[in-house]
Subunit: 218 residues, 8 copies
């Protein structure tokens, strides 16, 4: 068994709580963390928890988790109540294959008490879908733009809006776009000035960035 | 001195003439080819002939070349007369840094007797430039789309037009887009169905493709 | 459940219909799309639909799909009647391992009402197979050349024919050719002028390019 | 001569003005842009303008440029007056080799009327330099963290502060860190949640992101 | 059956014994090696022995192995008695996902008669965990620092301690950090002078380096 | 079903027979080829035939194959009788994990009527194993050197012998050596002049090269 | 000044003499080696000696070198007299840009007393050039095939001849073929069985391989 | 002018002094650092100071530097007196092209008061050079092994000695070994257990590692 040191203090120090990245953790390690949570009466957000691994968890521990198979996230303990206001974050995606990443961002935001509005499947191969939604998208303070393949969406959207855009490249695609490196580079090398980027498929990170921004400016 | 075997027959066999790729050829080798051309009374198209190398050529040979410093091409001998018709090819580019590649395509087309219409600096970061030009672009039978950096232009344009698009990624950009590999992959991994791609900075190749297409359908 | 916005308008705008790329879509999302198709009385072409995923689809929905295990494509609804003419497209492949990609191209063409003639297993390691077929291949207006490993076929063929060639590199091969990047680069970096290339294994894209070309010149 | 279409409208649409990326533009093209600026009585920000190229500009045009050799930027026309307030942006860098990138960010901010506070040479190999500055850094609303080599600074800083951090990886380093790809990936793959990243050496982009954020929240 | 030549002499010549790398060895080959060990009455250390492969071993042979599923190591025969002294090696890790690699190092050290002290889950995103442990870590003569993702830990730790640090990058992470290449390069390209690095996930190698150092200086 | 054109003529033309690369061929395609062989009364060598795929073959067809699970090869029809002479080829390998590749080379040689002598597990980490075997290795006319990981064996051996060496890098190793690219480059970039290299894991290719050499000089 | 240890014994041990790779050696180091040669009355072959560096050598030392600017080789001392026989080696190249590499191979062969026949500029984009030369090429015992870009020549040639082929990929090309990695992989991943490959631009290595083969079979 | 914060405290904290990496620092910045040194009466070690840059330094400042053109290092102020003992460090290199890197390590050691013994040009292509020196090499406590190209030297040496080996891969080589990545990976992926590696060409880093080790064990 390995030592696990939870950074309970992170929210105060860094504005977002520590999340438990489940990839490469064994079932035993995850169970150990759930047990710590139960004992200390704290809540946890688990990310990248594959369905197979989730199913292997001890049922008496697993029942404390609210699992979402689409985004591979699980919440243990209470979710903060979002404010009644109009959502300040828009999550825009290129295609329905990006759904899992969008939902990871959404779950992370909700967990910290923020709501968001989703605009899915508005990729640039049919630009009318994006221009139709633009006015609504602009109502948010921050835009999270999720796209795979050649990821032209964050660039095109960023050229249309005065709102800051956080791009999340996804691993959707095959051949040259397999694994998401193309989408990532397309966001980083964009001709649209001011685009900010996070790791491939990192909906969690984009949400944390948005939260840190909202808190810094509130 | 190395043996040089010119493929005079290529136009009949492959629809386009052999061009002389000057990169990695010595000044002596290029002079040798000019001499063959003068002796055999044939014409030549030289590509990727750097200005420095061009200036080192023997002046009595060099004077037979019509050199373009923007595209690094040189024409020796007569250019075919383009037909009086409306140009059947549109060359569309993302930014003014792509000019050299556009002109290499244009020179190649002109050399073979084809005219083309240029639409430069209409990249997607200011989409109005492209939508303003769209009606005119659509008058061509084939579109050559030239773009560097994240190269979203060919994808976006291809999603707006019923015309076939040949993408030429360029090496414009820095950091992740340095060298043009990102632009190349963005064209190949595009969500726009039917985009065809040539090598980085290969304006010559795109023009040859267009010529082969026009001849095959004429 | 994620939002799905079908671009019914694409054929009118872009000359080819939207296809449903099934890779990275969940079974639920694909079922949702079939349901939309049934409700709206429209047809769909599904690509990259792995046999395993296809088998997991709800049987009452699945029965509306005409599935091809070789090419991982499925057609829902009617296929257009091809014209009675001699096929205007030749699909040429290097080896029998490229069959799946050839068939994806063929299915896409047929779905849009075009026929094509197949010339399989004529790779350059036994050049007589290609030279024997050359006269027949040249009867087509456009050639789609499919090859993996070192992908010399598109280059060699392009040096023999006046017809335009669209190259489809495949992921066939191991070691340095694993994944198809070598085949892709061999097509892009070819010494044969005018070769056009699409993404690795992208038979669908090559077919769409051919259709856009045929429509633009008809 | 190539067509150049200036997007004068960009500030209204996208919150930041178009800048002129000089890399890969010819001296003639840059002169042409200066002439447009003089004629239309507008101002311009030039980026990545190498000293060699700057010196080749026509002196009567060049005298309209305020050039900074450290950051390779030039300003033509008036700079907006920054507000009298405490700067809302902190620019923090790992080492004195990152100075050029820091200054590109600073010039871009100043050009748009924003001031910023610089904290240079506070890399993690001597952590006391960073902890000494932390209280002052936290006074800003947004932190731009500039670092090359293994780029641990943005990660470590992000784990110490509740402020949002925009990371700018730089191309400082040799061997495995040559070119900046390692620094870039270290920012993207960081264990610190919520870090946002821009392209290698892209101080301009980080400044634009900060401006868009400040305007969105003002 | 393949020939297997055990290098029984290695400890005398190279200070560490030959270990059996089980990756890519067949079950039959591993059984053959166990049989050699039994026959010659020698001991063996097996590394990278996946649980699945271990379970397929002939039970009468397998019972001679002491298997550790966490580190994928197995020991056959006796482990040397560690000296009663304070451990001279500290193993420090970034997160609990690095546990397997830490334990591979620990098992290798123990097998050769060395003890070590573990400091797990003290990554830099919560720096207090590392500074709290620093005094204890410094009691060792050599530090093995294990970290994945952006692997800032070895750099930061190396900047805090006068002790030599051997870095073991791990394959923990996703997107740009998938596979461990980022962590590896972050260690190699570190701004902290004197960091030594071994292959990705190579806890065994780090332990062998420590043993060779301890023996050379004893 | 796809068209399959066997190149029966290859031995006469190229000195080695066509082999059937089974990777990426479907079970149906392989069965079709066996049927052609039975019908035409010809023999075949199958390579890279995974055990799983082999087991799925129709038993009445499969019984005509002599399968080797170690090398993933299968022979259908008669093997040529090797000459009674001392073998003219030595196959030398670094470790017992390279056995499969060694045996693919051996099977290919035997199939064409050549014998070879194996020297396995003589890698450079225990150089005495190689120097002990050197005199015997030198009795061959050609050496095939098989090695994974950092593949120092072909370099070291080549520096000790006057015999020509064909290097076969293998995909044995993990971390930086995973997939065999390191072993490949170590052979190609070797300081030992005259080393010839084939693709990763390509024991078949090395054997074919040896056969072509032996025939050219016989 | 650095220590230099010449391996005078190499020809006896390895069949080819040590050559002096001048790349990355300083002018002083090369002068030191010339001086050793003069003192010991031995001959040397220098490779990759750039013209600039050659010109900086002390003239009294330089005059002992027979320099070839095309291949960047220099010979100091006597060249062995080639046998009067028909050359046993054919050097075949794709284009006139490959001349330098061809000549490096030729110089190396001549230096060791072997003659060779050159067949230059017979690349596959005009296949008639190669088929015209085939009968003559086949008179050699060994073929060295030199090609850049997509390097289809070695594959196509190997499919036409029973002679063994050593491929030398060259760094000729741009975009995806820049640097020669594509040409290298095309040779290694070739569908033509038995092709042997050396490093990019390594004409010297191919010649050494041929010499070792000729000696082993003589 | 940029802020520069010297970490004067580093030796006490980390056992080695801060060195000034001159790559990417401007002449002005280096002059500024020399001035700080003169003012504070401290000494400095400058690394990677190209001769061109060194020559541009203000002569009155430059005269305080003891410059070594071979290793691109400069020492300002006094060098510590090495102990009279037999050197505890051996620096072993593959070829005379590695001299610069060897001397960077040597200068760094000397600067900190350590002597070392050099064994240059003992690469594995002529193994007798290494075996001849082995007894002397083993007299040191720590071996620094410097090698480029396929870098087999550290692996072979590590398999012969009980002493710990720190490998320094160098950027010597061309084609696949250009830039040193092959040499680096060959050290990291070595079959010799316990090899420790530093960045490409990083003689400074290897020396610092040796110093930290010697101090930790003294």
């Amino acid at each position: 068994m390995s030592d696990i040191i939870i950074d309970f203090d992170r929210k105060a120090r860094c504005a977002v709580e520590e999340a438990i990245l489940c990839e490469r953790k064994s079932v035993t390690q995850i169970e150990q963390i759930i047990a710590i949570g139960l004992e200390k009466q704290v809540r946890f957000l688990f990310t990248r928890l594959e369905e197979q691994k989730w199913q292997k968890l001890n049922p008496t521990l697993r029942e404390h988790l609210d699992y979402c198979a689409l985004s591979h996230t699980a919440v243990m303990g209470k979710v903060e109540t979002p404010s009644a206001q109009e959502p300040m974050i828009a999550i825009v995606s290129g295609g329905s294959s990006d759904t899992g990443v969008c939902r990871e961002a959404l779950t992370t935001l909700n967990y910290h008490g923020y709501s968001a509005k989703l605009f899915e499947d508005v990729g640039v191969s049919a630009l009318w879908r994006l221009t139709n939604a633009l006015e609504d998208i602009n109502k948010a303070k921050i835009i999270i733009a999720v796209a795979g393949m050649e990821a032209a969406l964050p660039t095109v959207l960023s050229g249309m809006t005065h709102r800051p855009v956080i791009a999340v490249p996804t691993s959707v695609g095959y051949g040259v776009s397999e694994g998401g490196q193309l989408a990532l580079n397309a966001c980083l090398g964009s001709c649209a000035a001011g685009l900010m980027t996070v790791n491939i498929d990192n909906g969690f990170g984009a949400a944390c960035a948005a939260i840190k921004l909202l808190k810094s400016f509130s």
